[in-house]
């Protein structure tokens, strides 16, 4: 039976997304928003990972604008099921920032572009 009194911990989900992304099984796709990437799994769930602006307190106590990753889980109808912020992911392991870096690398086809650039540079 589901224990609804305990907070739902997104850490295992984020870790699994990182693992599957690293192994190349999740094909993150770029979007019209440079700071957002999407992927769908199991034919019924879509993840949208985006960087959103937030205000933080700087080193000297001044307000500072920072970008933090937010993972949104959507159902097959496009309804938001769960919004996970960096602070929700517990533990010292990799978090949403690492997931965003991997998603950006896959979505922007950075590996492919890098090897193309290296080939082009070698032909100079």
């Amino acid at each position: 039976m589901t224990d609804v009194q305990a907070d739902l911990d997104p850490t295992p989900l984020v870790q699994e997304l990182i693992e599957q992304s690293k192994s190349g099984k999740l094909k993150w796709a770029a979007t019209a928003d440079r700071l957002a990437f999407v992927v769908s799994v199991a034919g019924n769930t879509t993840f949208r990972l985006k960087l959103v602006e937030a205000t933080d307190v700087g080193e000297f106590g001044q307000p500072e604008t920072v970008h933090i990753p937010v993972l949104v889980m959507l159902d097959e109808k496009g309804n938001t099921l769960w919004e996970i912020r960096s602070g929700d992911v517990k533990g010292k392991g990799p978090g949403l920032s690492e997931l965003f870096s991997i998603a950006r690398r896959i979505g922007n086809k950075l590996d492919e572009r890098m090897s193309n650039a290296i080939s082009a540079l070698r032909q100079l």
Binding site: A30, V38, N44, T46, L74, E76
Partner: protein, 159 residues
């Protein structure tokens, strides 16, 4: 009396054989009807995907010509069709294709968000603009799904 019993026995056996044959024929007819229904559904799915592809290509065109109200309209149409098709045609698509359609719907939704956010981001749209690149990607991905479905239609036709 014995001759009557023998004739009745043979008649029963013949009846059983004919019933079995009739049952087999009915089963084959039912399978053929099911196959025909599936073929019609796959053809209709291919036609709907073709419409989606045309809409996606029109979206690219409208964006390239900075016709944002029309582009916005296409985004709405694509969003509606992409919400409907994956759940309705699930039986005729593999999970990867459903995933692709769901991903495309999200990409279209984000294109809509960018258009809504305002013209600043969309002024002097160049072919290398992220919105146009993504719209082209959407059109290409849809064509890929359509290609796979059309190939299924063709292989069904050859049967």
């Amino acid at each position: 009396m014995e001759a009557f019993n023998l004739a009745a026995g043979i008649a029963s056996l013949l009846g059983l054989v004919f019933s079995a044959l009739a049952f087999r024929q009915a089963k084959n007819a039912s399978a053929a009807a099911q196959e025909a229904r599936n073929a019609v559904r796959i053809r209709s799915l291919a036609s709907e995907l073709e419409t989606l592809c045309v809409r996606a290509e029109q979206l690219v065109d409208f964006l390239l010509h900075e016709r944002l109200p029309e582009a916005s309209l296409r985004v709405g149409e694509l969003g509606s069709l992409l919400s409907e098709i994956p759940s309705r045609a699930r039986a005729h698509l593999v999970t990867d294709q459903v995933n692709t359609l769901l991903t495309i719907r999200e990409q279209v939704s984000i294109i809509g968000d960018v258009i809504q956010r305002g013209p600043a981001e969309l002024q002097n749209l160049q072919p290398d603009n992220k919105v146009i690149i993504t719209s082209r990607l959407v059109a290409t991905m849809l064509r890929e799904v359509l290609g796979a479905v059309k190939s299924k239609v063709e292989s069904e036709g050859e049967k």
